[in-house]
Amino acid sequence: MTGKVYIAQPDLEKVLSKLAGNMDVWVPAAPANGKWGVEFMPYHSGLAPILNRRSSLPPKKVLLPQMEALLRFEYQKDPQDPSKVTLRLDDPTADSLTSRPVLVFGARPCDTRGFLTLDRTFTNGPYVDAYYRKRRENTFFATLVCGEADSACFCSSVGSGPADMEGSDLRLIPVEDGYVLETLTERAAFILDSLESLALPPTEIQEAAAKQINDEISSQPASGFPPGTVEAFRGRFENLGYWQEAVEQCLSCGVCTYVCPTCYCFTITDEMKNLEGARLRSWDSCMFSHYTSEASGHNPRPTKLERYRNRVGHKFSYIPTNYDGMIGCCGCGRCIRLCPVSIDIRKVVQGLKEETCECA
């Protein structure tokens, strides 16, 4: 069993191509020329992966696609007696989900950590999401140890860190001129084995360099949110003045939820044309005004104040309460970077225990 390999930078695409022969490999790459944003996409020969900067979108769509058909249906009318209608249902889980393993290569700890929250929601408890579980069982993560934080990063503040491998199957450490890739879980052993002749073990120097980098990064101090945030949130819930200040700039646009690795809310709609259609599950956002809109017309979260308060509460109070203290945020900072008005969720959470919100 191959535990560790060294991949020289010029060989990276060769290695990925070899892996892609047996599995679907997702890598961060630039979607269009001249754009800064990096996105996860299926690897194909000729695609240049970009591993030296954070992706703007997380790899969330690998396990929770932005849109998927839960089932397809067709009303069939009997030509002899058109008033007799039967309903044909197709369940796509049986066949259309890929049977090849999926490898997410080059995600950072903040990306991979998002799946810990999604796993709890979709696969723990009495109601298991079969669509998600089937994908999850088949997906493996080769997570990149992260070199440098930017001004929006805060993974160390939410119980994670730039070398956190929780939830990951392989560890990818960038060293000079290449990478050291190491298997962490038994279920992922076949991946490096599949590299065959391309699986070059690292030299002692390379191994030592990798270890040093990993140790250095792991030992960076964590700056956590003040303890008692869960209770502080509950105490602040009714303080409308606090939330008013926190949310005044918000546009209710929904970008934060779409780019968040731990956000998983979805809506189910039936899309029909004539006699056939599909039941779709697609991403929804708690920031959208109609998110909690009810059939009667009543909306328990009518303004952005209630909605933003709910978002903060969900990640920093409700999830920790329900999931043994796990914070429902991985500190990737995307919501801060990509917010049109640069709302900083760190300030809002830190301020929960303060007198007023120094949010702006």
Binding site: P65, M67, E68, A69, S96, E271, K273, N274, E276, G277, A278
Partner: protein
């Protein structure tokens, strides 16, 4: 992609679909007059009756073309003769802007045409429909703005060959 377009003007078996938005008072009446007089026209036009071209949202035409309608024809009362006085004045501006915008977005502007036909102009209606149908024949089938979505085939859902 577009099926073979040899320039033939025969309407038989090409299966093109042209959507027509006709105002209830003038143009729909004009089409009716053409029918009463038994003027022969190509049969590719599917008519939708609207009360007035002022009701015409340019997005009706845009959506039809995006989803693969081969042509869109809008017809109303002549300017100054609108049954509601000013509806077609609004339409004139909006549809002209649409006509210029379509090619910028990559949609063939010759697939969209708006004109004015009054209730008594049966012969003119026949001419409008014939000419426009021929123009669409020449342009061929419209693939619309669609690609096979990841994992979901929109083709089957929209019943297009």
């Amino acid at each position: 992609m577009t099926k073979a377009n040899s320039g033939s003007v025969s309407t038989a078996n090409q299966g093109i679909k042209i959507v027509g938005f006709l105002c209830n008072w003038c143009s729909y009446g004009g089409a009716d007059t053409a029918g009463v007089c038994r003027f022969k026209q190509p049969t590719d036009l599917r008519i939708i009756r609207i009360p007035c071209t002022g009701r015409m949202d340019p997005l009706f035409a845009a959506k039809a073309l995006i989803y693969g309608a081969d042509g869109v024809l809008v017809s109303g009362c002549h300017p100054r003769d609108c049954h509601y006085s000013v509806g077609n004045f609004y339409a004139r501006r909006r549809l002209e802007v649409l006509k210029h915008f379509l090619p910028f977005m990559g949609i063939e502007p010759r697939r969209f045409h708006y004109t004015w036909v009054s209730a008594s102009e049966g012969q003119r209606w026949q001419q409008v429909v014939t000419e426009f149908s021929e123009q669409i024949q020449q342009l061929g089938l419209n693939p619309g703005v669609r690609n096979p979505g990841p994992g979901i085939e929109l083709e089957g859902l929209l019943n297009r060959g």
